[in-house]
Structure formats: C-alpha cells, structure tokens
Symmetry: C2
Subunit: 413 residues, 2 copies
C-alpha cells in the first residue's frame, strides 16, 4: 500500500512555516505497513489543489489531505477534492445544527461562511473534531478500478493528531492486513559516526530489524523496528538486536526505553536517595535548566550557582581566589573546586562543576575555545574530565552540560 | 514565475527526517519575485522520481531538485531528470579528473561508482560544489514551448546553501526582471493574538507591505516586506509601516533590527555600564542560560543562583527563612527577596528573582500551576510582577524567563 500526504495552505509555501504533521502521520502509517511515497505541499489555489488531488489519486492507495477545512473563502479542500474526484458535495444538516449551537453557546452570531464546514463529499463519513469546528472526512472510493482511501483532516496538529488516532487509525486497521511490529529506542552517549562504526557489524546478526541512527541535542538515538508475521517474532528480533547493541555499547547506553539523559539521572538519584547541586561557568545555567526540565526534579535537585565572574566563583561556590589566580578560571583545579564547593555549601550528595571557554572569543593557544573541564565530587572522591569540544558557542555549551549529566549517570550506574 | 521545489530521498519519507532546505530556497526565490507553488518530497525510486520531475515541468517555470546527486546506486536524480526530459547524459572528463585527484590527495582509491557524479545533462552548466563531491547542475530548456529553469542541487544544507547563493542566484537574477525589495523584522513582547488585534487596523495605512506575524520561544515577530519599482520606494513603505507599528506598540517593541531579547538586554546593560545577577527557582537556570547564550555576556552578567530548595534560597540568595515560612516560597515577598539578595551578594547593578510553580504538580487552589512572581531590584526600588502562565512545564519556564528578561529591558529603555 502506498500513501501520499498532501499539506494544503499558502502559509506552508512561505519561508516561515513548515508542515510537521506529516512526520506524525508517516509514523502511524508505517506502523500499519503503509509506506509514504509522496509528500506534497500546495497553496490555497483552486486549480493547483484540484490538480494535486487528481495526481495523488493516480499514484497512491491512501491519500491524506491536511488543512483547508476552515470556514473562509481560502478553505478549498472540500470543493477541490470533490471536483478532482468528479463527485458532489452535500450539506450535512446535523453539522449545521451543531455549528449554530456552538456559536450560540458562546453568545456569538455564526457568520454565514461557517456553513461551508458542513459540506460533505458524497459517500464520505464525517469524523467529529472535538478540538475544533471543522469536521474531518473519510471516503472509500474507486479510481480507475482501484480501491482508494481518502482522508480530509484539519491542519492544526492539536486537532489532527487525536482525530487521526481515534477515528482514522481504527478504520485503516479494518481495511489493511494486520501488522505485527516491535520498536525500541536506545539512547547513547557517544558521537554519531563513532556509534555507527561500532554497531554496523552487529546489524547483520539479527536479520529483518530496521535500524536508524539519529543525533540531536548531544544524544544519539538508535531506533530499532521489526515487522513479522507474529507479534512475538517481531519482539524477539528487536529484543535480540537491542541486547547485542547494549552489550557492545556497554556503559555508553543511556536508556533503552526512550528516556532522556536528564530523566535517567533523575531516576538514579532518586533510587539512591541522593541529591545534586551544580556550579556552572561556561554552560551558564544550561545544566541546571536541563535537570529542572524534568517534572519532580525538586526531589533530587537542590539548585546551583551560575558563576560567570571569578568573584562569584569564590562567593557562591567557595573556590579560593588563590586557586583561580594560580591555575586560571578554566582549569582542572577550578572545576574540582567548583564541584566540591557547591556540594559543601548545599550539603548535596553530589556536586558538579563546569568551567570552560564557550567562545567565539576568549581562547588562547594554551586554552582554546572549546576547552572545558567538568568535575564531579561526592565528598570523598573527585572525578574530572577534560574535553576539547568543537562547534559554535551553543554546541559547546550543550556538550558541556551533556558531559556533566553523563558524568553523574556513569557514577551511579 | 512559479517555482516547484522537489526534495529527493527516501529518508525524507520516514518519521525521522524532514526537508528544511525548502524554507531557505523559498526565502531566496521570494526575494527574486518568484512564488513557490508546489513542494514535493519523493523517495529514491526511479519510476516515482521520473514522474515527479515530469509533473513539475508541466506546472512550474523554475524547478529545483535537491538530493540524489551522490555516487551510490540510490542517487538517481541525474538519470531520472534526463529520462523525464527526454535528453541524454554525458560524462564530464574534467570532473572525473577532479574526483580522481580528490581521492588521490587523501591516498584513497576511488570507487568506480563515483564517476556517476560526473554525469551531466546535455545542455546543462556544471556548478562546482566546494563543500562536497557532487557538483550541481543548471539547465535552461524548453518544455512544450515554454522556458524552464532547472536546478539539480546537493541535499546537505551546508553544501546547498552556499552553492545556491554563489552560483544559482546570479544566474536567476540575469534571467528574471529586477526586484526591489525591502524587509524588516520587529520583535515584540506581547501575545500573538493581542499583537495581531492591535496592529491589524494599521496594515491598511501603508499599502503594499506584506506582514506576517510569527510566534516562537515567547517572542512575537512581525515580518514586513515590500516590493516596488524602485528600491527607495520599497524601503520608504516598510519604514513608514514600521514607524506606525512602533508607535502603536510602544514599549512592547523589543527590537526593530532582528535582535533577540537577550541581545537587547545585553546592549542596554553595556550601554549603562551596568551588571546583572539572577536568582531563579521555577525557571531552573533558564534565564541565566538565555543571557549567557549571547557571546560576550560575561561583560555584564556576573552569574546567579538556581535555588530550587528553600535552604538554598536562604543560603545562596540570602532570603530570610522566616519570610519563606510566612509567605511561602512562591510569593511576591520571596521574589523581591531573591532579587535583592542576589544583587547584594554579587554587587551587581540589577538583581532579578523568579519564583513560581512550573507544574505539572505542586499547584493548590490559592497557588495554581503557572503562578509566577518575577522581581527586579536595583538597590533602591523593587518591581515585582505576578503572572498566571498557561501551558505545560516547558512553556511556563520559558515565559517566566522571558518575563524576567523583559522586566530588565523595560527598566533600561
């Protein structure tokens, strides 16, 4: 089965906006065994939209149109699809009544235009939209002898997603052969290409598992997916390859259930009844920000200091001024002193210190932009790592905070 | 002139990856007076790609294909476009020599496949790609009597963008009528719909200026663009409408040259020779992180405290424990004490304090999730604002940090 996803709306043909619904729909369709062969974006132009709908009918079994279902003159999807298919629209009296009711409840007079939202393709099923006024439509039809499944969906993601899941997915499942799919996401703390090189030889060990490596925000994700005749078989394959990968990648594996590094660090800290405090220079609060992005992080995160100036390193994190004068603010010694200092002041179980040069200026031949020291202290032992990070200021800060989080994770494994 | 942008690559039809080049290309084409009428994504399938290329030739004057120019079997753009247009490919000996040289310099043997990258459409101009091995192609041709401009570009953005700007843009400018365009971006500190309602009546005051309102990351951007017969005329119109908008929106205007709120706050602080420190609870370091995202922020940002626990509010920011016990950690009084406390401890010119309930749990009927207090202290006066923010944890933290930054901006205007 082939699918085409069509996003309708002139705003999607500007430099400012982009369709994102199609990623969601592609994931769902793939789970049903349907491959997306074409994605099209077309503006609110009658001729263009009719032509695009007609082309889609010739080349895809499942055609999903998103957007253009509102009440305005620009909302042309209903009538253009009708024209493309050579069928009529009829006005659904029940929907009109509902629209009037909706406006009456808000003590507003309904503009005449709104009745257009009750126009239904002959033969289509109306799908209620609980999060907006425009109902969706589902149509099974034939095109030159072949079966076609056509969906007209609202454009806003908060309307489209629940509507698709609750009303389109069950209908598609009824008409498509059953699928048995298993999926797994491993998150890994290592570079994308290093990871790829390490695990590429393992792919062949378990046949029929599709793997995709994605890098974003300092993490690498390995997506595993298998499709089989039976659910158990799909799960067994994914399980087996995931096991091989986890063994190979060892302590570089952050999580195997999709959890983020921040979440995993939180789990481990809570499991141990431990608490954390951080003292950050070059990362400027990014590590604290990432930790506190997790709901409930107040249970294990006490807080921290953002110590950009040398005076604050001393004042808030207790780094001796003499140490800074001797070794420089960006040094192994100061990173350790930050970690120890913030731990002592806050009485946290663990303290993390980060100091470095985020750039673009401030580097020297001995201490170049990208040089970062990250230390972890538990009151007895100190660990400190030196990193030479590459990329722009944002990337260096991102990786510095990532490394700080990963240092705690490895400590607690 | 109508354009179609075609992204080629099966990976762009998965749930994981999305074409982003088309936003860049659309911006450039619009500046040339060309509207994008269609965007298409197609996989590495011969039949699909030939069909898509043929459809594009029938409905667009300018056709840009991206991707599928590499050396592998999956890279089909060259041969599929040749088939769609009914023309031949020839192998360019100069490119082959260059490819061999490139590999030799790296002491690698060139795989035979790589010679496919030297296949050129008959009549096309080869465009050197300084950032990759796959050269691009430019072809002026006719299709059923109409002029067509066809471009084959590499997929990776870091290759496509410089190549388009240096080699396609000048060629397009030669064949298209000259364009006189002026642009301006205003950033505004207010809600999207409130902003729209305030300025909508003004649009008509200056005809022929296109306005787009975009919201992201707590800021609202108003994009103005005008096209005219003369450059001065385009600039005059944009200038005039920008002036009207700035007058109407008054101190809500953050910047009129595209600068971010963080940058503007930095400019103002530096202009005054002033410094800043922050004490954050619910925003968890996000305000510090945003300030320090600006290069050179160490000149005016001393640092701050992330004080999640009540003990740290006292210890790092000097908030009296009694005050917290009396009014609660989330209160007007504690916000002021945080701002004053961090200012005093750091000897900064200004101190900002943020305390609130980011959720999803921790709210009460009196102090619901989203209640945030933000205070600014300069040692003499204190300002404090109360906000009831809506949305999820991330949005509440984002708006809390945004409001903190905006409080300083308004103080320094």
């Amino acid at each position: 089965m082939k699918a085409e996803i069509i996003a309708v709306g002139s705003e999607l043909l500007t430099p400012f906006r982009q369709d994102t619904n199609s990623l969601f729909l592609t994931e769902r369709l793939n789970e049903l065994g349907v491959e997306v062969h074409f994605k099209t974006v077309v503006g609110d132009s009658r001729a263009d939209l009719v032509a695009v709908a007609r082309i889609a009918m010739t080349r895809a079994d499942i055609v999903i149109l998103m957007g253009g279902l509102g009440p305005t003159e620009d909302d042309l999807t209903r009538e253009c699809v009708a024209e493309a298919l050579g069928i009529e629209l009829h006005r659904d009296p029940e929907i009109i009544t509902e629209l009037y009711k909706r406006f009456a409840e808000r003590r507003m007079k309904m503009p005449e235009n709104n009745t257009r939202q009750a126009d239904v393709l002959d033969g289509a099923v109306l799908l209620r939209n609980p999060n907006g006024t425009a109902p969706a439509q589902w149509l099974q039809t034939n095109w030159e002898g072949d079966r076609r499944y056509l969906m007209l969906l609202p454009g806003p993601p908060q309307e489209l997603k629940p509507l698709f899941d609750s009303q389109c997915l069950p209908r598609l499942k009824e008409v498509l052969p059953p699928q048995f799919i298993s999926k797994r996401v491993l998150k890994v703390a290592m570079g994308e290409s290093a990871c790829d090189a390490r695990i590429a030889p393992l792919y062949t060990k378990v046949p029929n598992v599709q793997t995709t490596i994605l890098a974003h925000g300092g993490e690498v994700e390995i997506h595993l997916q298998s499709r089989a005749d039976r659910q158990e078989e799909a799960e067994r394959r994914v399980e087996e390859l995931a096991g091989e990968l986890e063994e190979e990648l060892d302590d570089c594996v952050i999580s195997s259930g999709g959890e983020s590094l921040e979440q995993i660090v939180g789990y481990y800290l809570q499991m141990r009844g431990a608490t954390l405090a951080v003292a950050e220079s070059c990362s400027g609060g990014m590590m604290a920000e990432r930790i506190t992005s997790v709901p409930g992080s107040s249970r294990y995160f006490l807080g921290g200091a953002v110590v950009y100036s040398n005076e604050l390193k001393t004042k808030l994190a207790g780094v001796p001024a003499k140490l800074i004068a001797e070794h420089g603010a960006v040094s192994r010694e100061v990173a350790v002193a930050l970690a120890e200092g913030i731990r002592e002041r806050t009485k946290a179980t663990f303290g993390v210190g980060i100091t470095g040069i985020a750039g673009p200026t401030g580097g020297t031949p001995e201490k170049p932009v990208g040089l970062v020291y990250i230390a972890l202290s538990d009151g007895k032992d100190n660990e400190v790592v030196e990193r030479r990070l590459h990329g722009d200021r944002e990337r260096i800060r991102l990786w510095a905070s990532f490394t700080g989080l990963d240092l705690i994770r490895r400590k607690l494994i």
